[in-house]
């Protein structure tokens, strides 16, 4: 039974990683396309364009646009690199805010397709946790994905973190049109098992609001 669950979890986890990589590569391809066209425009201006008094400022604008795209790409690569390393060890010390920041950055393109934005309200004083960051991100991803898929244009997903003693509470809420979010169906049970058994937390899904509590797990319990 547990073997079957682990197999299913591996499949869903792979799908999650695939979606994040697809979103990332799409974003990077766009940045590269802008860089290529900007460089091409400078080339055109030198070869076939007529030079004018405004040429210098035009070149500077184009160069700034290239630098901006490179900076955005570097930021995304940093997030993807950190996302990939979350899987180096199943259990490790990590910061909830950083792992959420990373997931939001990597899912922004998916959300943008529906004109959905993320609003963050992070408690800066959260304790570092010893737990499974990759599974934590997977659980949050499932709810983000539900909000993105089921909602209309122009709404916001609000992500709040709070310190509760040695634990962290994460609240995902939805601002915008009133929607009766459908439950995650088959996924609900899996998420419940992940949260309760794998990362020893608590989760409550009220549709428009999802509340999750997560703490450090002892090194002894992660072996079970």
């Amino acid at each position: 039974m547990e073997e079957k669950f682990d197999q299913l979890l591996r499949q869903l986890h792979l799908r999650f990683i695939g979606k994040i990589i697809a979103s990332f590569t799409h974003e990077i391809k766009n940045h590269l396309a802008i860089i290529k066209e900007s460089a091409g425009l400078m080339d055109d201006m030198l070869r076939i364009g007529k030079s004018s008094e405004n040429s210098s400022s035009q070149y500077l604008d184009i160069i700034n646009s290239i630098v901006e795209q490179v900076d955005k790409s570097i930021g995304l690569f940093r997030f993807l690199n950190s996302f990939a390393h979350r899987m180096d060890n199943q259990f490790c010390n990590f910061h909830i805010n950083e792992s959420l920041e990373e997931l939001i950055a990597l899912m922004t393109r998916l959300a943008n397709q529906k004109r959905i934005s993320f609003e963050k309200s992070f408690d800066p004083e959260l304790p570092e946790l010893y737990n499974n960051p990759s599974l934590f991100q997977f659980v949050i991803f499932c709810y983000f994905e539900r909000y993105i898929q089921q909602s209309g244009n122009g709404n916001s997903i609000i992500v709040t973190t709070e310190k509760i003693d040695d634990s962290v509470r994460i609240i995902l809420s939805f601002k915008g049109d009133i929607i009766n979010f459908e439950p995650l169906n088959d996924l609900s049970e899996i998420i419940d098992t992940i949260v309760k058994e794998k990362i020893k937390g608590e989760i409550e899904d009220k549709g428009n609001v999802v509340v999750m509590k997560i703490s450090s797990i002892s090194k002894k319990s992660n072996k079970s």
Partner: protein, 139 residues
């Protein structure tokens, strides 16, 4: 055939990309106008004559394939070239079934892109000529 007056719509939610590409195409005597989503593209088509549309797929609001479907049903002669960073084989097949002229992936080579736009324009002119001749024969 005068291909110096091609009126092209560049539809892409990446504003910097749409603007820069339009500028480059203008330097090649193509009257390129950038718009940033499907809704803007459809309203531009309604208010002005457009020969060729360069269309992104993944955009906020309407998906590129839905925009393509609308364009082909409302302006069947307008030729649509898909230019996307996210094109899968399935997207390509669907775009072709919906009547796209070509399917290119970003980043595209400007000379190749220009060539495709001019070919698409010729295709539109040919269709218009055939329709005119058929109309004349029916008189």
């Amino acid at each position: 055939m005068n291909t110096n007056e091609i009126k092209l719509l560049v539809v892409d939610d990446e504003v910097a990309f749409a603007n820069t590409l339009s500028q480059r195409l203008k330097m090649r005597n193509i009257k390129a106008v950038p718009v940033y989503d499907g809704e803007q593209a459809l309203s531009k088509l309604k208010e002005s004559i457009i020969d060729v549309v360069l269309l992104d797929l993944k955009m906020p609001g309407m998906h590129g394939l839905d925009v393509l479907k609308k364009i082909k049903s409302m302006y069947p002669d307008v030729q649509v070239i898909i230019l996307t960073a996210h094109g899968t084989d399935k997207d390509e097949e669907e775009a072709r079934l919906l009547g796209s002229f070509d399917f290119l992936k970003k980043p595209a080579d400007i000379d190749n892109l220009e060539q495709k736009i001019r070919k698409a324009y010729k295709e539109k002119r040919n269709i218009e000529r055939i329709k005119t001749e058929a109309g004349d024969n029916n008189k």
